[in-house]
């Protein structure tokens, strides 16, 4: 016969396994895993280490942008400027490093600071001037797109004079330690950003206000919280993260391409929503966002590996985005 303690332990384990929480977490991955299974059956080339690492690397930029967008979306806002802000920050890094020849850390700080600054402008437009986020960030998107071209002189800026620059996203610190796991630094940065953001959202006052703003801004204001201030901070943080994305893409391409960036916002927002963050605000997780970004990358990569005609790739991607969100809705219901 089993002792009571043993029984207890069993019940606890069962409770943990079958508790809603645990299943929910596993099921969130369901779409991702289903996609991966389908593609590995369809093509032997899919499930190779290099390709998986390639998928991770392809997720780096969109993943970081999606994390940036997650903050804003949890407040119930939206940020259409993440893509062009990323480009703008990359150009700033280019100006600081290549045109002015300053050392690399200065360029890195400048890019992130530029992102945070532009984010805070969006924040002021939205919080203080009460411009709806969609329009404020649409305006910023165009403004930054233009400014990136102006500042760079409509030319790419190359980082050839900053030899360490490609290291930011290309080389592999992990690979140096574990040679069988040559995960590029860009991916590492993505995960660091994700973990830090997750921490901020769940364990700091900023995170608490981010959720509170999205849940019921008026109630937060009536509770004596300076909602405008915190909203501006949220947009600044989001902007700073876009700056990091700018560094990753610039490092990957070893150049700041001023014309790039528009359209990236939709991928980022799609990742956030596929990841279960509500566009009406108040709820969301970084883990979900990362899964969402991975779903998009896996899908894109898989379809390309299968050499599906481009037009059909678009059709399938559109359909899968809808299905993934629908699956998430069904999961939540049950």
């Amino acid at each position: 016969m089993t002792t009571i303690a043993e029984q207890d332990a069993r019940t606890t384990i069962k409770a943990v396994i079958f508790s809603q929480g645990a299943w929910q977490k596993v099921l969130a991955f369901a779409s991702l895993i289903a996609l991966m299974v389908v593609f590995s059956i369809a093509s032997e080339n899919f499930l190779q280490r290099d390709n998986l690492i390639g998928i991770l690397q392809a997720t780096a930029v969109n993943g970081v942008l999606a994390v940036a967008a997650t903050f804003v979306i949890i407040t119930g806002g939206i940020d259409l400027s993440v893509g062009t802000l990323m480009t703008f920050c990359a150009v700033i890094a280019g100006v600081v490093l290549t045109y002015w020849g300053l050392p690399m850390p200065v360029g890195i700080i400048a890019a992130i600071a530029a992102g945070a600054f532009c984010g805070s402008i969006s924040g002021v437009l939205i919080a203080k001037m009460r411009i709806p986020p969609f329009i404020a960030t649409l305006g910023m998107m165009m403004l930054l797109k233009g400014l990136a071209l102006v500042i760079s002189g409509t030319r790419p800026i190359y980082f050839n004079d900053t030899p360490g620059f490609p290291m930011i996203s290309q080389e592999s610190v992990i690979g140096a330690i574990f040679p069988f796991l040559p995960v590029p630094n860009g991916v590492l940065i993505l995960f660091l950003v994700a973990i830090a953001s997750s921490l901020v959202l769940t364990h700091t006052a900023l995170g608490r206000y981010t959720f509170a703003l999205g849940s019921n801004e008026e109630a937060v204001r009536l509770s004596g919280v300076n909602t405008d201030f915190w909203k501006i901070i949220v947009y600044s943080v989001s902007g700073g993260i876009c700056g990091i994305a700018g560094l990753i893409i610039a490092s990957r391409l070893n150049s700041a391409q001023p014309a790039l960036g528009q359209g990236y916002e939709l991928d980022a927002i799609a990742a956030v929503v596929i990841g279960g963050t509500s566009l009406s605000g108040g709820r969301g997780t970084i883990l979900g966002t990362i899964i969402g970004a991975l779903i998009i990358s896996v899908l894109t990569n898989g379809l390309r590996i299968l050499s599906v005609a481009q037009e059909w790739q678009t059709v399938v991607t559109g359909a899968i985005i809808i299905l993934a969100v629908y699956a998430d809705i069904l999961r939540r219901k049950s």
Partner: protein, 525 residues
């Protein structure tokens, strides 16, 4: 506090003095030279008809609206209460008439929003301390609410308790309660009053807004009455009568009469439900409703009355049971089906479920019956719509500058009247009124009672859900009592007493699995 005890003089300095306050909203002069005074250690009731300006006055005191002119003094010192934060710093906290909660946050997070305990050099939130502090407050209030439960998942009553807990957590010197009991049952009200008495003993000044006369007699020390934005006068509660207050409020006196119970046994049964079932909230509910009958639904908070009404109305899906309307079995899978069968439902939460708050009054009134106002099934008959709306505005005395005023700009009670007008306009044969008088002043309440009686006399069948036992006893022809999703009994109106109802309302069946976990879930672990 210490200073207060030492010098008797400063003890008598009013906590709050408001003089000549003016406030205008577009189209409405909400306050005209209003004045008000609150002493330490008193419960000061603020009364007045819907739209009299009570909430506006208090919102100005709490830093939510800016005054147009006039002066506010706290302990004799002129102050400018520019923001809610400023009010908090002056020791003023408020429980709003409408719920103001962040539904996605937990109860504890709601209570301490803006004042979160920190750890790790103030960088990280101390969630444990937060939950502990909330649990303490709940314990003081004898409340069984898990501090970690999302507020959006609580019933209206519990949400209201969270709001009260939040206001208490400030430990303010001035506590404003704008209709705190509108969603509460008697036991909870008693609990609240005990808390209020404790605070009063500690010298806290409490402004208490309510439309429930009996409460005021019980709890208040002085009563200030407002009418049309002006202060009519302040009287000590002990030396006044309900009638006197009512005539101050409305400028005339009202008489209450118990409804005559007509003989309904010959009337047709218009609605019958059998063995209604919905997972965990409705258990085997059966009842009949006759033409011309007012069936009162009594019960404690969370008894499942709202759920029953919503389920019959098709707003929520059912797991089992039959619904028979006028002798025919029907399936109701959406409110549309219900309305088509002549069933109307007036929700208990007007802001969320009753009104399109951004639309004008007229549009709201004709919403359920818009098809009646269409030419060739497409075009709106604008004039007919406005005429209908105006007739209801007049009939129900809805206080609004015009029928084109946005519904969200009306006072709470007048919003409720708009919702009632909606269902009157639809002309339904079976009507569910879920807390129809919540937040409504005595005058209007009387009108609604008259209306309910008139509707019943016209042959309509009415289910009136109410948590106010006097109202149930006064209005019902028959009383059904619910507890934990079950119908625990039916009483004829004659001879029914509050005690009999309460006995049935607390007749718990057994501690089933889910109620057990609910009851034993410890707030602090």
């Amino acid at each position: 506090m210490v200073r207060d005890e030492k010098s008797g003089a400063s003890f008598m300095t009013p906590l709050v003095t408001i003089q000549n306050l003016d406030k205008a909203f577009p189209g409405v002069q909400a306050l005209r030279k209003a004045h008000f005074e609150l002493l330490p250690g008193e419960v000061h009731a603020l009364m007045g008809e819907n739209g009299a300006g009570k909430s506006t006055l208090m919102k100005i005191l709490a830093g939510i609206y800016r005054k147009d002119s006039g002066g506010i003094r706290i302990r004799g010192v002129p102050v400018d209460v520019a923001t809610p934060r400023a009010a908090q710093e002056l020791g003023i906290s408020i429980i709003h008439q409408e719920l103001n909660l962040m539904n996605d946050l937990t109860a504890a997070q709601n209570i301490f929003i803006g004042r979160e305990p920190k750890r790790a050099l103030g960088l990280l939130l101390d969630e444990e301390a937060l939950n502990r502090a909330a649990a303490e407050i709940f314990e003081r209030m004898h409340l069984k609410i898990d501090p970690r439960v999302e507020v959006g998942k609580l019933t209206v009553a519990k949400q209201q308790m969270v709001e009260i807990a939040k206001a208490l957590s400030f430990r303010s010197q001035v506590l404003i309660m704008d209709e705190p009991t509108a969603a509460l049952n008697n036991a909870e009200i008693a609990e609240l009053f005990a808390i209020i008495r404790k605070l009063r003993a500690k010298g806290v000044g409490i402004v208490y807004i309510s439309h429930k006369m009996d409460e005021l007699k019980e709890i208040s020390d002085r009563i200030t009455v407002m009418r049309d934005g002006e202060t009519v006068g302040t009287v000590p509660t002990a030396s006044t009568s309900v009638d006197a207050i009512i005539s101050m409020m409305v400028g005339r006196s009202l008489t209450e009469t118990k409804t005559e119970v007509p003989d309904l046994s010959s009337h047709d049964i218009v609605l019958e439900v059998r063995n209604l079932h919905r997972h965990n909230v409705i258990r085997d509910v059966s009842f009949k409703l006759r033409k011309g009958e007012i069936l009162g639904f009594a019960g404690l908070m969370g008894a499942g009355r709202t759920e029953v009404a919503r389920a019959i109305f098709g707003a929520d899906p059912l797991d089992g049971g039959e619904i028979i309307v006028r002798g025919k079995h029907v399936t109701i899978s959406s409110p549309q089906d219900a309305v088509r069968l002549g069933i109307g439902y007036l929700s208990e939460d007007r802001k969320r479920f009753g009104l399109a708050t951004g639309m004008d009054v007229a549009s709201n009134i004709v919403m359920p019956c818009l098809s009646r106002f269409l030419a060739i099934g497409i075009f709106l008959k604008g004039r007919a719509i406005r005429e209908t709306a105006r007739s209801y505005i007049k009939q129900l005395r809805i206080k609004t500058p015009s029928d084109t005023q946005e519904a969200r700009l009306l006072s709470g009670g007048n919003q409720q009247k708009v919702v009632i007008a909606k269902w009157l306009a639809r002309d339904c044969e079976i009507l569910f009124f879920d807390e129809p008088t919540r937040g409504i002043d005595v005058g209007a309440k009387n009108e609604i009672y008259k209306l309910l009686n008139a509707l019943a006399a016209q042959g309509r069948a009415i289910v009136m859900i109410s948590s106010e036992l006097p109202e149930i006893l006064r209005m019902s022809h028959r009383i059904a009592v619910m507890c934990e999703g079950r119908l625990t009994g039916e009483l004829p109106a004659e001879g029914a007493t509050q005690e009999a109802i309460m006995r049935l309302a607390t007749q718990r069946h057994s501690l089933t699995a889910d109620t057990l976990t609910m009851a034993t879930r410890e707030p602090t672990t």
